[in-house]
Assembly symmetry: C2
């Protein structure tokens, strides 16, 4: 019943309608996966389908009805696909109409090790998790007596080199904003003359009126053009992805430097790209020295993800580390989308060989919990309650991250992602050659499965993908971004590549 792939490979029609029927007979998925497979097989062998099933248009009749109902109480205009998570399994996402798609978008890059992963299910059924859900602690005031162990056996086990402490948060936006707060407090402390210098009366009073010197409104956080760092007021001030993200929201007058816009293929544009990166670093330094609100930190994504999968070289990031060090500015690496294995290393900045670690690294998405790592004790503010809120993170999700780490280690999924990424990149390079202009600026070589390309009809491309059995996302103005889970294997890459070819044939 699952042996559909060979059949589907022989099918060459590019009609979505025919393709739809091609994927019959209907797969009936178990509502819960059964136990793990043998060690030489993929995690979901035997439990996930061997090919997608497309039975209806998406959304189909059932989904349409349910979306209309949901819309009465919850804005549904951004719906991509109403999802049946009981029927979703491994690398496949299902909907209420029985469509089952290979998912290389993975909840905006946030599902790490497959839908209904058995090890995660087991972890979430544990008494420890149930306890942490029903007795949610105010972590700053009343941490549980197992909190240190939860941190050490999970979050800190995979902490970036040189960063041995963590401040936990809820999602990418507040992870970044609390990192910004730490940066402002650190810089003002330096300006004041150290940890032990007390606040002045004027600072205490003016802070309550949102004025300087109490509020450090004369300082800033620098980010890069086309960056994405979140959508609350502080993080949105550093986000420069698209107007629709920013319109009508007040923002701080913080500086942005140009992110180097590399030309592809890289090997044909070595000198131009080097110059673009040098120019960017020069602009960073210039802004540090001249912006009317001096930056206390620069935040950067290893690969600008929402902004269109924009890469830069390890040399660029080493240069950024150098220029920030030189001027006493913190370097915050936003690994919200790149972290947890997708680039073929656990943290994307592991590719850089930095001479000294970033000051803070923020995480969320595939970690299923959020926060920032740091190492320098000076980044703990000089008094308690300065970096504080009621929940300060989520122990249940910290335990989930621990289970994710266990699953990654047990199955060596970071290495697998590096290997499968190389395989996929090779296939895509061949496609790009076969279909000129359809897989433009193919990028992400050596970056695991964190691969993207541009297509002139991107929106249509992404929409049409569903009828060919693939759930896929876009980013920036024209990029198709591949963001599969760490459980993505060569066999999935084959299905994906075949679907991509059919999509471009149909455009």
């Amino acid at each position: 019943m699952y042996a559909l792939r060979t059949l589907s490979r022989r099918t060459t029609t590019n009609s979505a309608r025919l393709i739809t029927s091609r994927f019959h007979p209907v797969l009936s998925l178990p509502s819960r996966p059964f136990s793990a497979s043998a060690s030489n097989m993929g995690r979901f062998d035997g439990v996930e389908p061997s090919a997608p099933t497309v039975k209806t248009e998406i959304p189909g009749p059932k989904a349409k009805e349910q979306i209309a109902d949901l819309d009465k109480v919850f804005d549904t205009r951004a719906i991509n696909m109403l999802t049946d998570y009981n029927a979703s399994i491994g690398n496949y996402i299902a909907d209420p109409d029985g469509n089952v798609l290979l998912d290389v978008y993975a909840q905006i890059a946030s599902i790490p090790v497959g839908y209904n992963n058995p090890h995660l299910i087991e972890a979430m059924k544990s008494d420890q998790v149930v306890n942490s859900l029903v007795n949610r602690p105010a972590l700053g005031n009343f941490p549980s007596n197992d909190w240190a162990d939860i941190l050490r056996s999970g979050l800190l086990k995979v902490a970036p080199k040189g960063l041995d402490q963590v401040f936990t948060a809820m999602a990418g936006s507040d992870a970044n904003e609390t990192a910004y707060k730490a940066a402002f407090m650190w810089k003002r402390q330096q300006q004041r003359g150290g940890h032990h210098v007390e606040f002045t009366e004027e600072e205490l009073t003016s802070s309550m009126n949102n004025k300087s010197p109490g509020a450090a409104s004369e300082l800033s956080i620098m980010s890069f053009r086309t960056a994405f760092h979140g959508r609350l007021f502080g993080s949105l001030s550093t986000t420069r992805s698209k107007p629709i993200h920013k319109l009508d929201i007040p923002a701080f007058d913080w500086p942005q430097a140009t992110f180097p816009l590399l030309k592809y293929p890289l090997e044909e544009h070595v000198e131009e790209n080097r110059k673009a990166e040098q120019d960017s670093l020069a602009e960073v330094e210039h802004l540090i020295q001249t912006w009317h609100l001096p930056p206390c930190a620069v935040i950067v994504e290893p690969i600008q993800s929402e902004g269109g999968d924009n890469h830069a070289s390890p040399e660029f990031f080493r240069g950024l580390r150098e220029v920030t060090k030189k001027h006493g500015v913190l370097m915050i690496v936003d690994e919200v989308q790149t972290g947890v294995g997708a680039t073929g290393k656990f943290w994307a900045h592991d590719h850089w060989d930095l001479p000294s670690p970033p000051d803070m690294v923020t995480f969320s998405k595939k970690a299923q919990t959020a926060g920032y790592y740091y190492g320098n004790p000076e980044l703990r503010p000089n008094k308690p309650y300065r970096q504080f809120n009621t929940w300060m993170g989520d122990p249940a999700r910290a335990i989930l991250f621990r289970a994710i780490v266990e699953e990654i280690e047990k199955n060596d999924l970071v290495s697998q992602t590096a290997r499968v990424g190389d395989y996929l990149y090779g296939k895509l390079a061949a496609l790009a050659e076969k279909y000129p202009g359809q897989f433009d600026n193919l990028r992400g070589k050596g970056q695991g499965t964190f691969i993207a390309f541009d297509n002139p009809k991107r929106d249509e491309f992404v929409k049409k993908a569903k009828s060919f059995g693939v759930n896929i996302g876009g980013s920036g103005a024209s990029a198709v971004r591949l963001r599969p889970m760490l459980t993505f294997e060569e066999k999935h890459a084959d299905i994906l590549v075949e679907a991509l070819e059919k999509i471009v044939q149909s455009l």
Copy 2:
């Protein structure tokens, strides 16, 4: 073994050391509560202790050791009490040294229906919750096909009157900030001439540079002095609780009006208090008309909680609704701390008899999930992806809130809280009379158990409470705030009042 209360009532010593031994013999708590009690008994009768146990100083030797260990990786300077959540039950919080305290702080007012509540445990063990934890959806793009039902059977079942839609969030800060974003977009849409007017090229371009007219930096959110609305950059700009919350963080130059400072007892200061409220409303109107960045919304807590339990009358809030309506300014009611039953009504603003509902009501804490309710369809921005983020809430916690609502309804806990609150207030009024100057400005009459008073040695008071078997919190400069759970009964009030008396005797 649990019949210690009668004994303890006879004890009149004010020595913390003797009190400590008084609470022996040691209670041995079940690590998980067994099933619910008969309907005419409290939820935790027979499973929670009948009195606190204080065996050591707090923190005791085990806690001290564990805190020192935790501090290596996680800032512990704000620790109030390292907690053993397996041994905590009902209204009692336990620590690793075997101390078990009556908890009237409840994780900064966020535990709704008792530690290890059996109904919540059952709900969190359900397949639906496990599924929503391991397959966390990106709710805006890929909501689950049971999301509408989860909302209707939980969050929306208790929606404030007139507000039938919800935007879900993660915690109080982002609940408020997303409400602010909705307010800014609504106001700019009005200024532009309606939903269907497209953005200008200048708006699109300037928004990317954090400049007007694209960024609505010429607008503001008004809040009140001594308010607390969160600690991220937008919410912190409206928070005016204490310098330690605000120092060194850049803030928007938004206006604050004076919150009426009522004098107690209310019946002796009727005219003064009415004038204070009228002055406050006049200031609100003046700021709306004159502040250089005109407010598009006013946010207000029904009772300013972190700021010191500052109350105002229903007339004041009706006046605020009137003045905001008059000037086309939204009224956002922040029910993060007051919501979900603690004031003896499900929402504190149910006490006000408003002529028209607030425009938005934000919630978190006891709801164990967060977000804002709204009714006016104009508060949905004119395009998708304007109010959006990856997770956009947390279905597992929305299901938890549903279970909380079920538990509240089944046991009529809002009515119980109103009744127990009246009982407790009466006892405290008697104490206040007996100990002049120790229970100053007793407030919260008719507001359930949401009661507070001022004490001249507040910090010592709160610290000492633990040695008398009670975990209790402060707020503002001098307030002791009582924030018990909805499972708090008359018998708990008796224990609390007895301990309070011993505390003041020992100060």
